[in-house]
Assembly symmetry: C2
Homo-oligomer: 373 residues x 2
C-alpha cells in the first residue's frame, strides 16, 4: 500500500509535492501536513516529545492549540504520530518520518562556503589515494553531524594489472598484486623448498605477461597443467582476486561516533548496538542488496532497514563512482530522530564529490590497458 522506501527528493531547494500519489490514499490535509512538518522538525531538534501548546508558543500559526490537538489526534490515528504516554506530547512514527522525508522536507545544496572548504581539504590530500576514504568519512561526519560510513571505491570486478614477487627469506616471499583499478594487495607465500630471487622475478614477469587483464575466475582457468611453484602462485593470485570481489572483504570507514554517542537515546545499551553494527561486515552485506546503484540518495527509516538491529536507526546512503564500473558507498547513520535534510544534503554532495574524484582516476579508460608495459 504505502511505499516502504523511496528515493529522497533530489531537487535542491523547495520540497517537492510531485509524486505524492504514493501517499494519496491517506487522508491528510494541508494543515496536517504543516503540523506534521513542524512536529518532526521540533522533535528532531529537541529530542523531547512535542505538544500542542509548545507549538503555538514557538510558532505563529493561524490557529490555536486546541485545533492542533484535533489535527494531531487525527495524525495519530493515521499512523504518522504516536504518543509515548497519556500525556507528554507526541513523536513521529517511522511513517511520519517517511512522509516528512518524502514530501515535506527540504534538502538544499550544501552552503557554498562548506563546499569550498570541503573541496579545499580534498585538494590537500589529493595525491594520497589512501587518505580519500578517511577524509570523506571525517568530512561527512562533520557536515552531517552524525556517524558516517564510507567504503573505498571498488571495481565491479578485479582484473590483474601487475604483480611482483619479492623474496624475503629462502622459503618465504611476498606477492604484490596491483589491479587495473589500482588496488594493491600483499600476500605472503610460503614455499615448500628454497627459492632464489632470480627465479621468482622471472616467474613474476612470466605471469604478468600471461595473466594481465584477467579476472580471478579467468586466472583460475589458466591453472591448467601448471605445476610446482608456478601453480601455487597462480592459485594464490586467483583466490586473492576473487577475494577482492567479495562483499565481505570491503572495509567500512566510519567517523563521528561522538556526534551520536552523546545523544540521549544512546545513553545505555543502545550505543553497543551501534558499535556492533559498525564493526562487522554485516551492515554492508545487509544494505547492499537494498541499494539501486546510481539512483541518488536513499533513505531508510527504522523498520525500513533490512535488519532488526537497525530498527531504531535512520540510514541515509548513496553510491558513488563511475557508471557501473567502479563504485563505493557512503552515508550517514543516526537515530531515527535525525536531521534527514542536512544528512541528505551532505551525503548527496559527498557522493557527487567522490564520484568526481573517482572518475578522474578511472573514468573512460577501462579497456586500453594492454598497450604498454
Amino acid at each position: 500500500m504505502l511505499p516502504r522506501r523511496r528515493r529522497a527528493s533530489s531537487a535542491p531547494g523547495e520540497a517537492e509535492w510531485i509524486d505524492g500519489g504514493a501517499f494519496s490514499d491517506v487522508a491528510i490535509t494541508d494543515r496536517q501536513r504543516g503540523i506534521l512538518k513542524l512536529i518532526v522538525q521540533e522533535y528532531v531538534q529537541s529530542g523531547r516529545p512535542v505538544g500542542s501548546k509548545a507549538l503555538t508558543e514557538k510558532y505563529v500559526l493561524g490557529y490555536s492549540a486546541a485545533t492542533i490537538r484535533g489535527e494531531m489526534a487525527e495524525l495519530e490515528t493515521n499512523g504518522f504520530l504516536q504518543s509515548l504516554h497519556t500525556s507528554g506530547g507526541r513523536v513521529p512514527t517511522d511513517l511520519g518520518y517517511r512522509y516528512f522525508v518524502h514530501l515535506l522536507m527540504e534538502a538544499p545544496e550544501l552552503p557554498s562556503g562548506d563546499q569550498i572548504m570541503i573541496r579545499h581539504q580534498f585538494r590537500q590530500v589529493e595525491a594520497q589515494l589512501e587518505q580519500w576514504v578517511e577524509l570523506a568519512a571525517i568530512v561527512l561526519a562533520e557536515t552531517a553531524k552524525s556517524v558516517s560510513v564510507v567504503t573505498a571505491p571498488r571495481p565491479a570486478i578485479a582484473r590483474l594489472r601487475h604483480l611482483e614477487i619479492i623474496s624475503l627469506q629462502p622459503r618465504l616471499a611476498l606477492l604484490i598484486l596491483v589491479t587495473q583499478d589500482s588496488m594493491v594487495r600483499q600476500v605472503m607465500l610460503r614455499w615448500p623448498e628454497d627459492a632464489a630471487q632470480g627465479s621468482l622475478s622471472r616467474l613474476a614477469d612470466d605471469l604478468v605477461d600471461e595473466l594481465r587483464g584477467l579476472t580471478g575466475n579467468e586466472v583460475q582457468g589458466r591453472i591448467g597443467s601448471a605445476t610446482g611453484a608456478r601453480r601455487f602462485v597462480i592459485e594464490r593470485i586467483a583466490s586473492t582476486l576473487t577475494g577482492l570481489d567479495a562483499v565481505e572483504q570491503v572495509e567500512i570507514r566510519h567517523s563521528g561516533l561522538e556526534n551520536v554517542l552523546t545523544q540521549p537515546e544512546f545513553a545505555g545499551a543502545e550505543s553497543q548496538a551501534l558499535l556492533e553494527i559498525l564493526r562487522g561486515g554485516g551492515f554492508l552485506s545487509a544494505m547492499l542488496p537494498q541499494l539501486e546503484s546510481g539512483s541518488g540518495v536513499q533513505v531508510f527509516i527504522g523498520d525500513e532497514n533490512p535488519t532488526s538491529e537497525l530498527r531504531r536507526f535512520g540510514v541515509v546512503l548513496a553510491t558513488y563512482g563511475v557508471g557501473g564500473e567502479v563504485s563505493g558507498l557512503l552515508g550517514v547513520l543516526g537515530p531515527t530522530r535525525m536531521a534527514y535534510g542536512r544528512s541528505i544534503s551532505s551525503v548527496r554532495y559527498m557522493a557527487h564529490l567522490m564520484s568526481g574524484l573517482v572518475s578522474d582516476l578511472y573514468g573512460g579508460r577501462i579497456d586500453d590497458q594492454r598497450s604498454e608495459t
Copy 2:
C-alpha cells in the same frame, strides 16, 4: 623520589618483590601491602569504593575491620588510597595502582587455550598482510576486555624498493611506491602536459635503477639537475618516502570500544574524551617519546601519561618488531580502574606474537636487497 613510571613485571607467574627499592623509602608493612592489593582488586572488579567491613565479609583475614581501618588510614596518608567522601569507602590513587602494578600484581602468561585460539586465528589470515593489524586489534581487545590500539609495523626508515607509474589519463598518472619493507603507497600525479604510458614506463624503470635502496632524504639529494617530469616525480618520491617516516602518518587501529564505553565512568562526556584520543594522531606522538623500544610492556597510569586528556586513563603498551629495524606498537587503553594484570598478559603475548610474524617477514634480510631485479 618515587618512580614516575616503571616497566611491568615481566616474569610470568608470581608477583615480583625484587627491585622494591624504588618504593622502599615509603613505610609500608606487609599487611598493608596485602590490604592494598585486595582493595585494588576489589575496586577494579566492582567499580565501587571499598570499605573495611566489605573486605572482612568477603575475605577471611586474620584481623578485623577496625584493624583494616587503621591500616587504610595509614595507606591514605601515604598516598596510596583516597576517600571520595567522608564515608563510603576508599579507592586507589594513581600511586596505589602504580604500587600494585609494580609490586603486588601477577601477570601470568595467557592461558594456553587462549594462546592456541589466537594463533589459530592468525594462521587463517597469515597470507593477507593487510589483515594482521586489524586482527591484532580485535584479538587484543577481546582478551584484554578493553580498548586496544595497534599500529602497523613500520621500518625505522623507509627505503625505495620499486616504483611504477601508470598512466590513467593523458595528464594524470598513478605512482605506486613499494618500500623495502613492503609498504605500498599510491600517489596521484598531475602533469602539466600530456604524457604517454611508454615514456612513463621508461621513466619509472630509470628511476628504479637510480633510486633503489635510497631513503627519502637521499632521493631528495638526487634531484640535482633533473628537470621537467623527471624532477617532478623524484620530488614526489622523496616527499612520500619522508612522509612514511613521519609519526603523524602512522595509522592506529583500534577495537573494543564497546568494552569500555559501557562502563559506568564513561556514561557522559568521558566517552567523548576517549573517542577524541583515538581519533587524531595525537595519542601516538604523545606516547612514542615515552617508550623505550624493546623494553617490554610499559604501563602508564593516570598522571603518568604524557597528556592531560589521558589523566583519567590507564595505558598498557608494548612495542613489537625486529630489533630497531621494523617496529610497531600495540596496547590497551582503559579507565585507570582497569584490570592491569590481564591487560599486561594480553599485551605481552600479542607483542610477542606480532614480533614473531614480523620477524618472519623482515628478519635478517636488511641488507641483501640490491642483489636482483
